[in-house]
């Protein structure tokens, strides 16, 4: 399960990071997939450019 607080952070990728799933795309489909995956005990999920 995840460690640390459940809030947004800009992940420092100067070192390699690891995720169970990476979502590329921050539109409504990417956000819906991210939310659906958050029902499960995955170590991490990401997506990019959620902001305009």
């Amino acid at each position: 399960m995840r460690d640390g607080p459940l809030n947004v952070e800009e992940i420092d990728l100067t070192n390699e990071a690891r995720a169970d799933v990476v979502i590329i795309g921050g539109g409504v489909v990417g956000a819906a997939i991210a939310r659906e995956l958050s029902r499960y005990n995955l170590s991490m999920s990401y997506w990019k450019n959620i902001l305009t």
Binding site: L13, G30, I50
Partner: protein, 428 residues
């Protein structure tokens, strides 16, 4: 957000797509799921229904086809209204109308609000966000996804979900999958101020053609009126400029339905791109060339409606591929929704001001947005880093003057106060 920030904001009932297609399946399921999302996430929706209007006798046959198709797709409560019933419901319609297909399960939603609500809840439940990063490469080892290289580093991962919208073909190609061909189709819109929001009660479609649902007229959840979109294939994913020809096209199309539609209340025009797949259906499924690469592409209309159902399908694809999916015991489905200062009553506004005196500074007069709301937008789980992002979260600059008297200095001051260098980049 690309396509998600410039579309019609319609939750389609699901009668339009051909039975058996992914569009039909996910449209109808997504429409149902939004009712759950409305309750859980506080997304602002209005279930106002839609009408497909027949203006010519040939159109009546199409309405019957759409009715049959909708029933086959599982859309409930469809019915064809006579001319009299239609004009009782929509008195501003052209008096030459012949009838309409009534879909009471259609609705409207703010696409910004829906996207941000889903994203905020995902973040609340542990999803991490990479902001403003470019994907440079998808690493593949022995035919399987191994990671993603961005301009800031490497993420090792066995699974990549390609939900990159108009860039989905490029992302697939980065992994060596050249099978995703996306056509970019631009749609232009005109937005009217709230004085015209009651011009129609429901979303009005003309009888559709093969390439488009036609020029739509509908209210927005914020009380505006919009008309559009047209459909123009373009080559560049940055081509979201509007054109005089496009404006003429959508005005002419809208006036076929509402002949007395004046333009004095137009407050802005904009365009968005749809990602159209070669076979005219969503591309949802694992790559045939790279294991661990899952496509969710070609998401044109009704993509906004279908999104929650597409998400369910993607999870099942991952499960079928062997990803261990044990329930997250700390998953919280509910998002605490916030009433904007504009939506608050006098007593609540007084309480807000006592809690944060920055509510006493109005940054946007048209939408009654306070400096406190700007600061909050920069602090929320998916924080705003650009002026456009502040706009979609707070509606600052989205009212009648379109930011003409927006207190940009105060937005800037607020952003500096919380340590962000907000960039004043606006959409073209």
């Amino acid at each position: 957000m690309g396509t998600s920030k410039a579309n019609s904001g319609i939750l389609h009932a699901g009668f339009d797509a051909a039975p058996g297609t992914k569009k039909a399946l996910f449209n109808v399921r997504g429409n149902v799921l939004y009712r759950q999302l409305e309750a859980e996430l506080g997304i602002r929706l209005k279930w106002i229904g839609s009408l497909v209007v027949a203006l010519e006798h040939d159109n009546l046959r199409v309405l019957e086809e759409l009715l049959c198709r909708g029933k086959e797709n599982g859309v409930p409560r469809l019915e064809i209204l006579s001319r009299d019933g239609l004009l009782d419901r929509e008195p501003n319609l052209a008096h030459g109308v012949l009838g309409a297909l009534w879909s009471p399960t259609a609705g409207i939603v703010s696409p910004f609000d829906a996207t941000l609500a889903l994203a905020e809840n995902a973040v609340h439940n542990g999803v991490k966000v990479l902001l403003e990063q470019e994907v440079e490469q998808v690493l593949v080892e022995q035919g399987r996804v191994a990671g993603v290289v961005t301009d800031r580093g490497i993420i090792e991962t066995p699974y990549v979900i390609n939900a990159a919208g108009v860039h989905a073909g490029s992302v697939a190609a980065l992994a060596g999958d050249e099978s995703i061909a996306i056509t970019l189709r631009k749609g232009e819109y005109l937005l009217f101020d709230t004085s015209r929001g009651d011009c129609v009660r429901s979303v009005l479609f003309p009888t559709p053609t093969k390439v488009s649902k036609g020029i739509v007229i509908g209210p927005t959840v914020h009380g505006n009126l919009f008309i559009g979109p047209n459909a123009l294939d373009v080559a560049c994913p940055d081509d979201v400029g509007t054109t005089a020809g496009g404006m003429s096209e959508i005005i002419e199309g809208a006036r076929k339905l509402i002949p007395n539609l004046g333009l004095g209340s137009v407050i802005t025009q904009f365009a968005g791109l749809r990602a159209v797949a070669a076979h005219d259906d969503f591309i949802i499924g694992p790559s045939s060339f790279v294991r661990g690469l899952i496509h969710a592409g070609g998401i044109q209309s009704p993509g906004l409606t279908a999104a929650p159902a597409i998400a369910e399908a993607v999870v099942e694809i991952l499960r079928d591929d062997g990803l261990s999916l044990t329930p997250n015991p700390r998953f919280v489905p509910v998002r605490q929704s916030r009433l904007s200062f504009k939506e608050q009553n006098y007593t609540t506004r007084q309480r807000s001001f006592r809690l944060n005196p920055l509510h006493g500074r109005i940054v946007c007069r048209c939408e009654t947005v306070t400096e406190a709301e700007i600061v909050e937008a920069i602090h929320v789980p998916c924080p705003a880093h650009t002026l456009d992002a502040v706009k979609v979260r707070t509606r600052a600059g989205m009212g009648r003057c379109q930011g003409g008297v927006l207190r940009s200095a105060r937005v800037s001051a607020a952003s500096k106060r919380v340590g962000h260098a907000t960039k004043f980049r606006t959409q073209g």
